[in-house]
Every structure is written in C-alpha cells, then in structure tokens.
Amino acid sequence: MTRNTEHVSEFQLALRSFKKNRLAVCCAMILFIFYAGAIFADFLSPYSYRNEDRNYSYCPPTPVRFFDEGKWVGPYIYGQTLTFNEFYRRVYQTDTTRRFPVRLFVQGDEYKLLGLIPSRLHLVGVQEGARLYLIGADSRGRDLWSRILYGAQISLSIGLIGVLISFSIGLIVGGVAGFYGGWIDNVLMRLCEMVMMVPGFYLLLALRAAVPDDFNSVQIYFAIVVILSFIGWAGLARIIRGMCLSLREREYVLAAKSLGLSDFKIILRHILPHTVSYSIAAVMLSIPGYILGESALSLIGLGIQDPYASWGNLLSDNMSIVRIKFAPWILWPGVFIFLTVISFNIIGDTLRDCLDPMMKAERK
C-alpha cells in the first residue's frame, strides 16, 4: 500500500530553487575552483612557496606569449633584466633576445601531493635562466601566483575547520539550551551573550595575546582556528537554540520521550537533524568571518608567519602605498579574499532565501 508519490525533502526543494539562481551557482563554481586549487596547490604552482630569488624582487608579471611576428611558436616568455634608474630604483626590462619556452608537466621543486605522494611534477614551468611570474613577484622574488595557491590552503581551510568546530559547539549548546529550556537555557544563553558582547576584533587580539610567542607555524595555525571558533560558536548556538525551542514541541519528540529514549538520543536524532538545512545557510554566512579573521591577524603579523603563505600575510606587503604603486600586483591576494567572501555570502543568502517558507510562497 505504498504511496507512489515522489517525496522530496525540504532541502532538496531548496536546492532546486538554488540551482535556478545563476549568480549563486556561479559563486559555487568559483569556490569549487578555489578549493580545488588549494588542494592541488603543489602541482598547480610553478614554484614552491619558499622558492625565492632576490634578484627578482618585485619583478613584474612575465606574460606568456604564443606568437612571434604573427607565427605560432608555442608558449614562451622573455627574460627580464634588472637595471637601476637614477633614483636607484629597480627597473625590469623585457629582454626580447632571450626567449624561454613555457613547458607543461615539468620537473621542479619537490613536494608531497596531498601530503603523501612525493613528486617534483609541476603543471607549468620554465627552464633555468628565467623565472615564470604569471602575476608578478614579491619582495623576495617569490612567485606570487604560487604563494596565492599555497595561501589558499591555509586561508580556505581555516574557514572550514573553524566553522566545523564552532558549529559542533553551537549545535550542542543550542540543542541543550533549546531542549531543556528553563535555567539551563538561561545560563547558556547568557554565556553566549557574554562572548557576543565583546567586539570580535578586540576579542581576537586579546585571545591572540594569550597564545605563547614560541609557537611554531602549525601550532599558530591551530591556535588561530581555536580562537576564531571561540568567537564564532555563540551566534550559531543562538540560532540552533531558537529552532530547537520550536522543534521540541513536535509530536515525534513527545513520542520519543514516551518511549523512554534518553535526552541525548532525542536531541541528537529527533531535534538536531531538523535544524541541518537551515544551519547550512548559517554556516555559509559565517565562513567569511573566519577567513577575514585569519587575514586580519596575519595582516598585522599576528597570524601565519613568513615564509608560510596565507592570503592575509600576503596582503601585509600592501601596508605601504609606495609598494602598491610600484608593484600593484601585490593586491591580488585581496582580490581572492574578496571573491571568496562574497561567494560565501551570496551562496548563504541564496540558500537562506530558498529555505525561507515566506520566499517559497512568493515564488509560486
């Protein structure tokens, strides 16, 4: 006697209307490409993040050319020669007499793909004697494009891990507060408010000050994640708690209680799963906070330390207006931060609208 009506969950319905929104789908693709770029950064980047050559400090981009006097000769770049002008400023000149072919799948700096497979294979590269700078070089002559790819590993993963931690805390705290209500709810929500009360950036600095100076880069990475999660969980907990307050009135929660199931199981199986679709929108909207938080810390030198790259510490080069004037390409990391943050926001907003019953009625 099974009814053959096709069942689509609320979330699937939301996903359908999400797909109709071109802008949001576009943003999703941007993020997909960014994350893929971060995962395969070792392979995609021409150089390692620490491969430097001080003779190429702030070397401008070396455009890849394909034609020579109208004839196809395959990709190549010209060499750069360094001269100094009358103010002893570096001036790079394109040396059209020296031509270096750009090759695919070349051997280069050693790395371990996904941290496991040792390899020297890089997607693109040029032979010794010239350096390939797709978007330019930084102060130490490191390839900015490579460093942006490596920086994505840190900047993009901090958002995900951070949100994972604070989301777990938010789920538990919000679930418990919403399920039990009464004084438990009161205590937990006042705690949330205390965290939310302090302006985020100052809390960030204060917590960072509590982290020992002698941490190595991995420890700093995790310290930043923990600090950001500590700031982020409260907002999520409040959202979840609000949903649980109404969900606990559902009859299946009463039925589960009447069957003697433990509170833990009821919260975990009968309340929290129903908050998931709405939480996904909340999560999307909160990820930019982590990315910007890491960038802010790294920008002022309290986050990821050189030689490791993150989008935030790549931007710290931009603190001098003179440098921006002579090497405007060092603004590129900002473009990537901007695109990522706005993509997450658009996706989150669209998801929220798709899940909102009021909007659903409007669309009909």
Binding site: M1, T2, R3, H7, S9, G181, R250, E251, Y252, L254, A255, A256, K257, S258, L259, G260, L261, S262, K265, R269, H270, P273, H274
Partner: protein, 261 residues
C-alpha cells in the same frame, strides 16, 4: 475486585492562564485492572490526553500536576527520579498517539525508529534487532515486514502507520499501553481492525490497555471497564455493559447517542 496495575488517585492537573488557575483534570480517580481494556471516554477537550500524559509525567510545560498520585504496583510515580521514570516509559508503560504521521520522525525509516526503542530497553544488538522488528511487525498484523521496515512514515497508508506505531509502543513489551484515540483518523473498517489488534494484545500478550476515545459506541464491545470524562471530571465509571445499557449521567446518554463529539 481485580488487582489494579495502575491507580490514579485524585489526579488534578491545572494550567495558569491570565493569573487564573484552570483545572484541566479535576480530582480524577481511576483504577486500571491488569490484563483488561479500560476505556476513558469523553468529548474533545475533556482532558483525556492530559490524563494520559500525566501518567507518563510528560505534561506540556505550561501544565502542572496540582495534586494526586499515580500508583504503579504500589509505587507512586511522582516520587521517582527522572531517570527512574525514563525506565518506566516505553518499558513498563507504552503510548500510542492519535496521528502516527506526526508521532514518527519523518527523516528516519520505521525500522530505524522501532530499533531505537529496542536498543534503549533491551540487550539485543546487530541482526537480532532486525529479526525482532520483523517479529513485532508480524505481531501487529503487517503483511510484508521487510518492506515496511525500510519505509519512511510518509510512504505508508494510515492503517499501516498506526500498526507500525503500535509495534513501536510494544517493542519493549510494556505491561500497560495507553492508546490515545488510536483510530479516530482511520476509516471504519480500519478502526475495527485496529480494535481487534488491541484485543489480541490483551489476550495473547497479556497486556493492559487504557483506551482513550471520544466514541463510546466503538469501545463498548472491547473494553470491560469504562470511565466517562466531562470537562476534566469523571462523571461515571463502571462495567461497560451496565453503563451502555443504563447510562445514568445525562452526558453519558449524549455520548451514547453521539450527540457530542
């Protein structure tokens, strides 16, 4: 007098509304004899569901028990700790709700939700749980247990869903089942089938049943005892046959003629 599995003494449930206390259940006394079907009949809003929930100590937050005792085998349930009470729910006293579509969680299969009860209250594990679910579904008269087990609540018809919920309620073999209007959303033939199932639970599984209904005519063939509830007060109680044949209270007469629902 038959020995009573549950005694409700002076049960009074109240709600505070606009600084005024309203009694939803007013000094209710009821004895539920073992291995019998006792019916609690009253019009809608008379406090039947509230009584059922008070027994399990699951009253909605706004409601509170003002007075009274609920005595289970000599022990007042009001004196139990929350943990002890949880061991009573499902294991000693099971409850069947009016609308199984709402009482099942829509995102899990029927089998999963019955299995949850078995995991909570029995020592069964792994494939044995599955066997037990199939056995339970067979007991409640489901034809194709393996298929039902993997179905989601919305995929089943009303009758099957109600059977599945009864299977869930009896999973930990409680001695008392509180069935809150278990058939009022079903058509007449299905109602008869479900009533037959309760008879079977009493006769074959030796269960005690508190059958809540607004339809006196439907419980009359099944219940040995009946208590009539009006506006939170019990107006009449006793053997079903004598009450059906000689209703004393005018409200019972109305119920009999289905003048009130």
């Amino acid at each position: 007098m038959q020995d009573a599995i549950l005694k409700i003494n002076h049960l009074t449930v109240a709600v505070q509304e606009f600084n005024k206390e309203t009694l939803l259940v007013n000094d209710l006394n009821l004895e539920i004899p073992r291995n019998r079907i006792t019916a609690l009949v009253g019009s809608s809003g008379s406090g039947k569901t509230t009584t059922g929930l008070a027994i399990l100590r699951l009253l909605p937050q706004a409601l509170y028990m003002k007075k009274g005792a609920i005595v289970w085998e000599g022990q007042d349930l009001m004196n139990l700790s929350e943990n002890q009470m949880r061991l009573m729910r499902g294991k000693k006293i099971g409850m069947v709700f009016q609308e199984p579509l709402n009482a099942f969680n829509p995102v899990f299969t029927i089998g999963f939700q019955i299995g949850e009860v078995l995991k909570q209250h029995t020592t069964l594990s792994g494939p044995k749980i599955n066997d037990e679910i199939v056995r339970l579904l067979t007991t409640v008269g489901v034809d194709d247990p393996p298929r039902i087990l993997n179905s989601y609540p919305y995929q089943l018809s009303g009758g099957l869903r109600q059977r599945a919920m009864i299977a869930q309620a009896i999973a930990a073999s409680p001695s008392l089942i509180i069935a809150d209007e278990p058939t009022s959303n079903l058509d007449v033939t299905l109602q008869a089938h479900i009533m037959e199932l309760f008879r079977k639970l009493r006769d074959e599984l030796k269960m005690t049943i508190l059958l809540i209904s607004h339809d006196l005519g439907m419980v009359v063939h099944l219940a040995e005892q009946v208590a009539i509830l009006a506006n939170g007060r019990m107006v009449e109680s006793g053997e079903t046959k004598s009450i059906w044949q000689h209703p004393r209270h005018p409200f019972t007469q109305q119920l009999k003629q289905k003048m009130v629902i």
